[in-house]
Amino acid sequence: MGRRLRAFLAFLYDFVIGDDWRIAAGVVVGLALTYAVGRAGVPAWWLLPVLLAVLLPASLWLAVRRR
């Protein structure tokens, strides 16, 4: 049972998080920031595109450097 649970959790991690956990973490932080900025009454639609412009090149750069 323990082995099956571990295998399922590993599948879930692979399915959702994937190769670079920083992307998932960055998305969660970005959504939290969008919520917080929006609650403060400031337009927040631009936050995720900016996050994308930072997160994707950073993740690619790390992947290329690891080679």
Partner: protein, 266 residues
């Protein structure tokens, strides 16, 4: 979101998953036993139908804002992972996804395993291989159809697009009885990565309470901007790759596909 955009996004994303499932079923059927592979395929489809029947109404009943937040987050994570891998492949920093090589690997492993009968299934290995492949890729098809359809308030159209994608790919697979190596899978994944990312940014921000200028029309700007950005990054990484010594490039090219493609859904 227009009905056409919903149909195209779901169709393309589901077609990529269907190509991978078809490759596995073909390997199981050719290397082992067609009856067992087909039984595995039908069993997996039955489980998927039950999953859709259970999850479909649940997704429809969820409040739209919360649904968009969760789905937007997941789509953005998936989209960025797809795009990351597609850019690395297109720029030569990762081995290309090769259905031929995957088919050969699955075929070799399937041939080496001993045959074992289980109930009315003549070959349990062929059944399991086919069942697991169709179930895992099928769950992704279900996820894509339900989340896109739920967000766009049109689950029937998203479902129709998913079924069309699966039928088209399956028909081609049955017709050629060979791995679908001619499908430009890497290009498809690049396009799907862009679409998943664009929809993820759009729905994620809306779910977190942001309002897009121009409302749904913002998607029409997001898709080309993300595509241009991804192509720019690909060009940049290509220049870096071409500046590397030949030995390093060769070593990277020799990496097996299994190592280069650790994540099933991408």
């Amino acid at each position: 979101m227009g009905a056409g955009a919903l149909f195209v996004a779901v169709f393309l994303a589901c077609a990529v998953e269907a190509v991978e499932a078809t490759t596995i079923v073909l390997a199981a059927g050719t290397a082992r036993d067609w009856r067992s592979a087909t039984t595995g395929l039908v069993a997996a489809l039955a489980v998927l139908v039950i999953a859709v029947a259970a999850l479909g109404p649940a997704v429809s009943a969820l409040p739209l804002r919360e649904l968009r937040l969760v789905v937007g987050a997941l789509l953005l994570i998936f989209g960025l992972q797809w795009l990351r891998k597609a850019i690395l492949r297109a720029s030569g920093h990762k081995a290309l996804h090769d259905e031929d090589a995957i088919y050969r690997r699955q075929f070799g492993a399937a041939q080496a395993a001993p045959a074992r009968r289980f109930g009315s299934v003549p070959d349990w290995y062929g059944f399991t291989l086919s069942f697991k492949g169709v179930l895992l890729e099928g769950l992704e098809v279900v996820f894509i159809a339900l989340t896109f359809g739920g967000n766009a308030h049109d689950i029937p159209l998203a479902g129709l697009a998913a079924v069309c994608a699966v039928l088209v790919v399956a028909a081609v697979g049955v017709a050629v009885r060979a791995p679908l190596a001619r499908v430009p899978e890497n290009t498809l994944k690049f396009v799907v990565g862009i679409m998943l990312t664009a929809f993820g940014v759009f729905w994620g921000a809306e779910g977190a309470g942001a309002h897009w200028p121009g409302s749904d029309a913002a998607l029409l700007a997001l898709v080309p901007v993300i595509a241009g950005f991804a192509l720019g990054l690909t060009g940049l990484l290509r220049r870096i790759e071409s500046g590397q010594p030949a030995g390093a490039r060769l070593a990277a090219d020799r990496r097996p596909v299994a190592e280069a493609d650790t994540q099933g859904q991408h």
